[in-house]
């Protein structure tokens, strides 16, 4: 059965997308009032706060239980926002979206220690960022106190562990066949990370990726192509993946190690390979 699309829309378009499954984008929680709150109904997947500098009280008043994701645009300077949003965790899932910028690791660690789910967003890291990613991968995998997922590390680790063909595009909510981004003008568009896409039709995006892979680019012989599916080849196709493969290798090796650890415990009554 075809998967139901989720539309990532600005709050101004909620009436247009009534009846659809939606992610609602809003800049400032202070924009939320009774009128807006009463206008939101239906299958809302989460509320995405783009500029979370304001107070959180409107969120608590109007949307109990609704999953919230907020973006920490400057992971070095905006750390206090994590403390401001922490009270929301008492009644809902809250995820922090942290861009892949120098110093992102400190923000990830603080967010995880406060029990936020974390999404590291962005791609095409340079070597110093790759090294920071490797340290965070190790933190996610090995630090016993980590109880919440740090994506994409988490979902990719699970994909390796379960031999699941889920792609990074889906994990990062950037697969237009799963989550369709709608810009502030109401146009269905590629995810903003891919804004250099040249206005090509959204529905052709994954086909074009597949064409690139089939044409023999760096992805063609890559062991991670099933799950990565060219994720790190956008927006700049010429990006070299040597560093990022180290990160993926760390996660894949850890999945194998966990399998071996469990195998040493003995066979499962379920008869599977766990």
């Amino acid at each position: 059965m075809p998967e139901r699309l989720t539309y990532d829309i600005p709050i101004a378009l909620t009436a247009v997308y009534r009846g659809e499954r939606t992610i609602i984008r809003i800049y400032d929680p202070a924009e939320i009032d009774d009128k807006i709150s009463s206008g939101l109904a239906g299958d809302i997947a989460c509320l995405r706060i783009l500029s979370p500098d304001g107070v959180i009280d409107p969120l608590r008043r109007h949307f109990p239980g609704l999953p919230v994701e907020f973006e920490l645009h400057d992971p070095c300077k905006k750390l206090p926002l994590l403390y401001r949003y922490a009270p929301l965790l008492s009644d809902r899932p809250v995820r922090v979206s942290i861009p892949l910028l120098p110093g992102f690791g400190s923000a990830v660690k603080l967010a995880a220690s406060l029990n936020f789910a974390v999404k590291v967003c962005g791609g095409q890291p340079d070597q110093p960022l790759v090294e920071e990613m490797l340290r965070i991968a190790d933190y996610y995998l090995r630090r016993p106190a980590v109880t919440e997922p740090i994506d994409f590390f988490h979902s990719l680790f699970l994909a390796f562990y379960h031999h699941d063909p889920v792609t990074l595009w889906a994990i990062q909510d950037e697969d237009p066949a799963v989550v369709r981004y709608v810009d502030d003008h109401g146009n269905e568009a590629l995810h903003p990370r891919l804004s250099g896409g040249g206005g090509k039709p959204v529905t052709r995006f994954m086909e074009e990726l597949a064409d690139d892979i089939a044409s023999g680019n760096e992805c063609a012989g890559c062991e991670f192509v099933v799950n990565c599916h060219g994720y790190f080849k956008r927006p700049r196709k010429e990006y070299r993946c040597d560093g990022i493969r180290e990160v993926l290798r760390t996660l894949k090796d850890a999945a194998g190690e966990l399998r071996r650890d469990l195998a040493s415990f003995g066979p499962s009554p379920a008869g599977d390979s766990r």
């Binding site: 989720t6 699941d164 889906a170």
Partner: protein
């Protein structure tokens, strides 16, 4: 194997075994709790759809296809249903429920397909 089939196979013996494995992995001291839970309890996806803990544990769930938004995937439970349905996120306890989930053996780290965080609710 679909979710319902897994549910039927979620026997007490299997649950006890999963808890033993969790304790074993925890004892090794080299894995995070989120890794252990997500990998180990994957076979018992949403043991009870009415089980608050199963929903509340869904941080690590992978129940549909896609990202974080769709992790309630097949359940079709929009956020607006959570409060009255007894599956509120208030039951999650801010991620502190790891220690309490051994007895239930349920979905601390569920896995049911390919997905991201957005699709887990």
């Amino acid at each position: 194997m679909d979710i319902d089939t897994r549910h039927e196979e979620n026997s007490p013996d299997l649950e006890r075994d999963q808890v033993s494995r969790r304790d074993f992995l925890t004892g090794l001291g080299k894995w995070s709790k989120v890794v252990i839970g997500a990998a180990l309890f994957g076979g018992s996806l949403l043991a009870s759809r009415n089980d608050a803990d199963a929903y509340g544990a869904a941080w690590a769930n992978r129940g549909g296809g896609g990202g974080w938004v769709n992790r309630y995937g097949g359940g079709g439970t929009a956020w607006g249903n959570h409060g009255g349905g007894g599956t509120a996120w208030g039951n999650h306890g801010g991620g502190g429920a790891w220690a309490n989930r051994g007895g239930g053996g349920t979905a601390w780290g569920n896995h049911g397909g390919g997905t991201g965080w957005v699709n887990r609710y």
